[in-house]
Amino acid sequence: MTRFVARRLVIAVVQVAAITIAVFLLIRALPADPVATRVGFNASPDVYRKAKADLGLDRSTLSQLGTYLGGSGTERGLLAGNLGTSWASGSTVASEIGDALPITLELISLSFLLAGAIAIPLGMRTARRPGKALDKAVFGYGLFAGAAPEFWWGLMLVFVFYFKLGWAPAPLGRLSPQLQAPTQRTGAILIDSLLAGRLDAFWDGLRHLILPVVTLAFVLSGPIMKMVRQSMTRVLGSDFVLYAQAAGLPPRQVSRSTLRAAFGPVLTLTSILYGFMLGGAVLVESVFSLGGLGQYSVKSVLEFNYPSIQGVVLVITVLSLVIYLVLDVLLALLDPRARHR
């Protein structure tokens, strides 16, 4: 097991190194740089030149890569753990990602919880009673929920529940404008507000998450439900469940082992979706102005903000690879057959 993890880690390091360099080169091939935006049009060519040199863009790509990785002078490089400074705002990329990431994690984690809460019981029930009306309804739901783009669902929900009915808060971010945000500890408002004992902020934060979470959960629950159903059907039809019944084992034990055996594929799918959503939640994030990692990454690309793009790609890729690794470890813990690989 340890050897397996170690091997995977080594591969992951190579992968991350490769992607870092690839992205670096890809970015330098982009057709624009942010010098003009930095300086504005009320300036002279000298100023542009100065700003460009400031960003190091006048040097060769290789030497820029060297600086990015190894740092220069007093500035540490990536190898020393420094993601650099955002060209758009001048803050460190690490701190900006540190602000955006918890928002996304909070959003997608809640969405996955909700999606799971819908999909798992329904999937299990329909697996136990295939062909019934509920099964058909749920099947249709699964096909339909995934068919519309999530930002459209989000817009429709905002239109109905905010603009028309006025039930939902404005899609203006994580908290109401006049509410003081709780002291930042984890960056996730719900957790921070509880830590700070700020129930008002907690409820407000929760209210602001309802529509985005419902939107995402709606889209996510389809594939998860399908997988639960499929996996449960397979396990329910398997001989060992039958044998457990034939041996007169208590039902709690039987359903526990059924669940455990059906869990692997569901966990796999969920992890892959979760990894995808780190950057893929951008559409919902922008409909609701949440300012998460996805929005940050899109903004970085639109701004041609090289260090931010680089940083966000790195963070998302590393997180995804870590998720996949954890997934494999979990699968191995769950299923002894997966341990020999």
């Binding site: 295939p130 060992f240 039958l242 007169g248 455990r260 299923d335």
Partner: protein, 614 residues
């Protein structure tokens, strides 16, 4: 034979379980089991016979009120005068596993892959007995020892996938027996097992039934098992019971057409072989010397599949290769036609070392040697029609015997395909069908036609009959024997079924754990086996004759398990199981020694001679 004596254990007339009008259905459509009636008495062993898919398993499970997902059971099953099908879940749970035990067809799949054997056994035990976890654990060890698993306490921590099929089956038995059920339902309990292990297992089950007086419902497709172990037989076809008799009556005078047919099949004898004669090495078509092959498993362990095998197959002869599963038969077969590269040793084909040729140069040679695999469906490209399948070798090599492919016209090929189909007894209208639309027997004939297309001189037949239903099996054996006579091809006939080998081959080689342990003419090996393993192997064969039951005679058992090929013992590989074992056996590797009558044996006790300094 007219004397129909009562079975050795007197059947007590007390009814344990009675099924009336049981039906099982899986969703819409016809029932898998309909109107199933059955009565089982105390201490009785009832055999349930029928072809694959006729509903045996469904019926057996229904007796416990169970059905595979998403099946439904109806009718009534009376146990202890109560209808199982109307009981609450709690009551059912109390009966299942405690009063009625189950052993299933697929032992490994029936064990929870995520839990250790120990956990599973003690869970079942604790479900029916108020004991602590520790007590259950101790009991589990006892149970495993009782079914002949050595080192039981270590096995408790093993997961099902770490066990061999035989071991998994035993774990299942110990679970089924843990609460001493009154009725044991055994659903083809030995279908995955080797003959020696099968015999061992059935003996033990029989003994236990005798000892505890519990009844057994034994589901099987094998008349040999029925004849040897059962008191009464129930025959099923298409979900219905078509015949119910005592075993002796059944074998004497089967009533139903179906029963007659299967009985006829099993007792058929096609021994019309040319007289066995031993040929000298010079005119051997295939000559194998010191062949070895190992595989590296994913966990980097080394598995020795074949070890210094010598074999010679004279032109026009059929050599049988028998042995248990995993002994390396298939590997030898694949090495001979160079589907695998050997680690060491040579394969001379018509005097030429084919292992020395490079892959490209060897390819044309393939027209001269072919192989037929065990699973005919798996061997046929599922997307191709029979026509295209049989044409493929013609496209590659032409009509064979040196004729280049480019010289062959389309018409010639069409002609040849028709001939081939006729040769293997397939009707011309199969030509445009795909494999899935053919029966297993027909599929295997297609494989044979394809193999014969280029007029090869040598054919490896790797268990060509074992995936076939009994009737088709006999037909196939007849066909093979017939073809050999007509075409004069040499066979290496691989099988673990001694009967079919006997029908086809002149010579027999017996393999055990990567080595050949005995080799000789059919008569030598079958009639006077000398190696202890060969003896046990022959003894394990269950003949479909209720008057000569294995349980009634003295047996030459092999104890214990086959060692793992990854972790071979130091001395003789059979040492752990052999009745003749001595200290020397455990210390020394054995050599294959040729004896005076031409046969070779790998056992110093049987062939003590000429042991030179190795």
């Amino acid at each position: 034979m007219t004397d129909v004596s009562t079975p050795s254990s007197a059947v007590d007339q007390e009814v344990v379980l009675e099924a009336r009008g049981v039906c099982v259905s899986y969703g819409e459509g016809t029932n898998a089991v309909s109107d199933f009636d059955l009565r089982i008495h105390r201490g009785e062993i009832v055999g349930l016979l029928g072809e694959s898919g006729c509903g045996k398993t469904s019926a057996a499970l229904a007796l416990m009120g169970l059905a595979r997902h998403p099946g439904r059971v109806s009718g009534s099953v009376l146990y202890d005068n109560r209808n199982l099908l109307e009981m609450s879940d709690a009551e059912l749970r109390d009966i299942r596993g405690r009063s009625i035990g189950l052993i299933t067809q697929k032992p490994r799949q029936s064990l929870n892959p995520l839990l250790t054997i120990g956990t599973q056994i003690s869970r079942v035990f604790r479900a029916h007995n108020r004991v602590s976890k520790e007590e259950a654990q101790t009991h589990a060890i006892e149970l495993l020892e009782a079914v002949g698993i050595n080192d039981a306490s270590r096995r408790l921590t093993a997961y099902p996938h770490e066990l061999s099929g035989g071991m998994a089956q035993r774990a299942l038995i110990s679970m089924a027996m843990s609460s001493r059920p009154q009725l044991l339902i055994a659903d083809e309990p030995t279908s995955g097992l080797d003959v020696t292990i099968q015999a061992q297992f059935l003996d033990r089950m029989w003994e236990r039934a005798q000892a505890t007086g519990s009844a057994v419902l034994l589901v099987t497709q094998d008349l040999g098992i029925i004849a040897n172990y059962c008191d009464r037989i129930v025959v099923m076809a298409d979900g219905r019971v078509i015949e119910e008799r005592t075993v002796r009556e059944f074998f004497l005078s089967p009533q139903q057409e179906y029963s007659k047919r299967i009985l006829a099949v099993q007792s058929a004898d096609t021994t019309t072989n040319p007289a066995a004669r031993r040929l000298e090495g010079s005119d051997a078509l295939v000559e194998v010397k010191a062949l070895s092959k190992h595989f590296v498993l994913p966990d980097k362990r080394r598995l020795q599949a074949v070890q210094s095998v010598d074999l010679s197959i004279p032109a026009g002869h059929a050599v049988g290769l028998v042995g248990e599963s995993g002994s390396g038969k298939t590997t030898v077969g694949r090495l001979l036609v160079r589907l695998l590269e050997p680690d060491a040793g040579t394969v001379l084909f018509a005097g030429r070392d084919i292992t020395a040729l490079d892959a490209k140069a060897f390819r044309p040679q393939r027209a001269r040697m072919q192989i037929v695999f065990q699973d005919p469906f798996d061997s046929l490209n599922p997307r191709w029609t029979v026509d295209r399948i049989v044409r493929e070798p013609l496209d590659l090599h032409g009509l064979g015997r040196g004729e280049p492919a480019s010289n062959t016209t389309h018409a010639e090929k069409q002609q040849r395909i028709a001939e081939l189909l006729d040769l293997v007894g397939l009707s011309p209208d199969t030509r445009n069908r795909k494999a899935a639309a053919l029966s297993a027997g027909e599929q295997q004939r297609v494989c044979l036609a394809r193999a014969l297309a280029t007029q090869p001189e040598f054919l490896v037949l790797d268990e060509p009959t074992s995936a076939l239903p009994p009737a088709a099996r006999v037909e196939m054996v007849k066909l093979l024997a017939d073809l050999r006579r007509r075409l004069g091809i040499s066979y290496l006939f691989i099988s673990h079924d001694l009967w079919t080998v006997g029908q086809v081959c002149d010579e027999v080689a017996v393999m055990y754990l990567s080595q050949i342990v005995e080799q000789g003419t059919r008569a030598q090996v079958f009639e006077h086996p000398s190696h202890p393993y060969t003896q046990a192997l022959l003894d394990s064969v269950l003949l479909p004759d209720p008057t000569d039951r294995r349980v009634d005679r003295e047996r030459k058992d092999l104890a214990g398990e086959i060692p793992s090929p990854v972790d071979l013992p130091a001395g003789c590989y059979l040492a752990g199981r052999c009745p003749l074992v001595e200290d020397r056996c455990r210390a020394e590797r054995q050599e294959l020694v040729t004896m005076g009558d031409g046969r070779s044996v790998r056992c110093w006790k049987v062939a003590p001679a000429t042991r030179s300094a190795s």
